[in-house]
Structure formats: structure tokens, C-alpha cells
Subunit: 254 residues, 2 copies
């Protein structure tokens, strides 16, 4: 299985603290060593880093741990290969363009006997079930809407599409276009919202603490969504299985 | 204006030497400081780095200069903004998927009054003339071929498409799907092929030399394509204006 990490904020925020704990699970506190990836939205643009090495030892992950890239929407993934070889083209998140926006997708879980009819413009490059699911979601949304609908409308459509895919197995995923972050829990996903008054937090996986009151303004709001809680001293909320949440400006809108 | 750098090889090769000279033009020996980007194919996968900072000072460019990523097809770009703001979404190279392959595109030049009819599945995310041209090329190729044709056949189609675009201005570009590198010269482009017996070379823009005989095997072959020659002591070939060359396994096939 893999693990997912997402961040959605109302002001550009770096993910160094959370990514440091998350990447520790790629070899030290977890066995997710078969590649990793992260995508940061900056305005309409996206920075996309993927690597088939373990995030604990990858020089590119080291850059991400030490270079504070500020973003309002981030999706990251550490992989333990189940379907598809350990190869760059099988690393999540995947990126496609739809309606003149980049869409970023990462999945945790396994789909059995999943062979969607991909007769639209999106085809998988690698060999994962995840990228097939992403291409089918993009194809279906492109066929359904001529332009990007509001997040709540898109989420309603996603719920229909997700139900069809999740019938094939576990399908926790994150999807973002840089304005909203859609997170679906099939089996396991947690989130928290950090906002004023900010406090300190300590990573569960590493000897690292941060006092968020020192690095924020009172207006900042940050939602962090992750497979397993990243900190030991904050209150994380578990998603219900089957629940899709949409995060905008650092908070869930549904 | 911008500058382009491409590499096509018969064995995975790093681009540290060439990129070091190229990035020097982003502030020290050139004025291309409005962002940069580079894409490396590894098998079917692609590593894509873009940054709106200057390549001379960007921490991510520093990683590329020091971390030897091996690839058989690389496309890089340093930008001096003419059309489109200095922003991440306007940094080349751009990436799209077609026929289950990633396609990477970078452009140097200016197109006047260029408004192609983009009624297919590819839409620009940023505001450059370059991304419009790329989307139109992808749309046209998708409409023309159900699957990827051999490089020579694709090149013939590209020549037709390129002529329509180049009527609007200067349109030097590089395009790759990770198996071939297509390079078109509208005004200025150079290339060389390094092969056995390998010799030393010295950058024109920096005090850096390399003895390729120490880092190659006799079977290696590497084509480097660039706007302005990168080395002072090698024989570079100038493209003819209007010429499209296709590089496969480190050599031009036409």
C-alpha cells in the first residue's frame, strides 16, 4: 500500500514540516520505498517532482525537505508497489490538463479487474491501476462539463465516478486543480485544520517540532490531509469510509 | 528572446556539463532571467522541473547542475519574457500526454497575431504564444494519427504544421516523446554529435572542461542541440532556417 499527503491553504505555505515526517515513512518508520512524488501549485502553474528512489534517500526529496516552496495546494505520495513496476512513469502524483487547468492525482489502494473504457483523449503512460482511474475520471469530467464547474458541483459528479471505481477495491485518492483539493476516503484518511490561535506540533515520525504561531499570521488557515496522522500532539479527524471532502482556502466546504 | 537546449543519446547520459554552461546565460553571460525549465525522459516517465526564478540562482537549477540525472532525451529552456508574464505556468518546457506518451515542448521566438482554433482536448494553462502553438500541434497530431507514427512520418506532418505556425513569426522549437527529439530552426539553432573517439571540451560561458573519453564507452553517442554553441573547441553545425531535424539514438536521421 501507499500513503497520501495533501495540503490546502488560504495563503501560500510551505510543506517542509509535514513532508519531513511523511518522507520518514519511506524507509525508516514505514516501508514505502518504491518511489515518491509531490506536486505544488503556484498560481495556475504546477511544480511536479517524481522519483523512483525512496523519499528518505532521494536527492530531490532532500531538496523538498530543505527548500521551502510555498503553495496553496500540494499533493504528495510515497509508494509501495503493488500493481506496476518500480519506474518513474508509475510514480504518483500524475498530471493531466483539462479546461486549461492542470489536474494532479494520487491514489492509495488496489483496484481488482479494473479495465475502464478509455476512448477519450487521456491514456495512461505507465502501468498502474491508479493512472487508469485518473484517465477515466478526466475523460468522464471532460465529457460531462464543457468548462470547470464550481467545486461543489464537481464533487457531486466525482462521487458518482468514484463509486464506480471504488467497486473494484480500495480507492483513497486526492485530486486538485490548484483551487480546491478533493480527498476521498475508501478505507483510511485523516485531516486537521490549523488556524489561529496557532500552537506547537511535534512529528510522530521524527524528532522535529515547530511552533506555528511563530511562522503564521492570524488570518492563515491550512488543512493537512494524510493517510496516517503526522503529529502526535494535535487532534486529527478520521474520514468516514466512502466520504469525499472538498477543501478550499484551508477548510472543508462539505 | 529565449534559448533552447536539447540532448538526444543512445545511452542514458547526464546533462550537467551542458546545463552548467546554458544556465550561465541566465544572468551572467546572457539576460535570460525570466524563468527556466528542463524535462528529462527516463523510460516512459518524465522528470519536469520549471521555475520562474533565474536558472543562475534557482535552488532547483543548482540541484540539476550537481545531481547527474541520466536520460536519453532532454529539453531545456531559459526565458526572457516577451509574451506572457513571468510566472510558473509560462515556463517552458510544457508537457502534455498524447497516445499514452508524454510530449515535451519548448519554443524560442515570437509569434504575431497567433490565435489558433483550439477546439480539441488541449488548452493552454498559461498565457504564452508558445503554449498555444504546442496545444495546436498536439490537437492536430491527435486528429491526424490514431497512434504514434514512426519518427520520419511524424516529422513530415510536423513540417506541414510548423509552416502554418512559422508564418506568424520566429518559431525555433524542440519537441520530444522520449524516443526521438524533433528540433526546428526558424532563425537560429546549432547541433553537434559526440561519439568515439571522444575528446575534451571547454564551455564557452564558464571555466569548466570535461574529458568525455573518461566518462563514456566507445559505443556512446550523444547529440546536443542548442541555440548558441556551448563549447569553444568543438565543431558545431548550424541548422538551415526552415530545417526540421529528427534525432534518434544520438544522431540526426534526416
Amino acid at each position: 500500500m501507499c500513503q497520501l499527503l495533501g495540503m490546502n491553504c488560504n495563503t501560500p505555505t510551505d510543506i517542509v514540516f509535514s513532508f519531513t515526517g511523511f518522507a520518514t515513512r519511506a524507509g525508516r518508520t514505514g516501508e514505502h520505498v518504491d518511489g515518491w512524488g509531490i506536486a505544488f501549485f503556484e498560481g495556475r502553474g504546477v511544480r511536479h517532482f517524481v522519483d523512483h528512489q525512496a523519499a528518505l534517500t532521494s536527492p530531490i526529496a532532500d531538496l523538498i525537505r530543505h527548500y521551502p516552496i510555498k503553495s496553496t495546494n500540494v499533493v504528495a505520495h510515497i509508494r509501495k508497489a503493488t500493481v506496476g513496476a518500480v519506474a518513474l512513469e508509475n510514480c504518483h502524483p500524475f498530471v493531466r490538463e483539462l479546461w486549461g487547468r492542470y489536474w494532479v492525482f494520487a491514489h492509495n489502494g488496489d483496484l481488482k479487474d479494473y479495465r475502464p473504457a478509455l476512448d477519450g483523449p487521456y491514456r495512461p503512460v505507465g502501468s498502474t491501476d491508479s493512472e487508469q482511474a485518473f484517465c477515466w475520471i478526466m475523460q468522464s469530467l471532460a465529457a460531462r462539463f464543457a468548462d470547470c464547474p464550481p467545486p461543489a458541483r464537481l464533487a457531486a459528479e466525482l462521487e458518482t465516478l468514484t463509486a464506480a471505481i471504488a467497486a473494484h477495491g480500495s480507492f483513497n485518492y486526492m485530486l486538485s486543480d490548484g483551487t480546491a483539493l478533493y480527498a476521498y476516503c475508501s478505507t483510511r484518511l485523516h485531516y486537521l485544520v490549523r488556524q489561529h490561535p496557532f500552537a506547537s506540533a511535534r512529528l510522530a515520525d521524527d524528532e522535529v517540532s515547530v511552533d506555528f504561531s511563530q511562522v503564521t499570521t492570524p488570518d492563515d488557515r491550512v488543512a493537512v490531509i494524510v493517510t496516517e496522522p503526522l503529529t502526535a500532539d494535535e487532534r486529527w479527524h478520521a474520514f468516514e469510509p466512502g466520504e469525499l471532502k472538498v477543501f478550499v482556502d484551508g477548510a472543508p466546504i462539505r
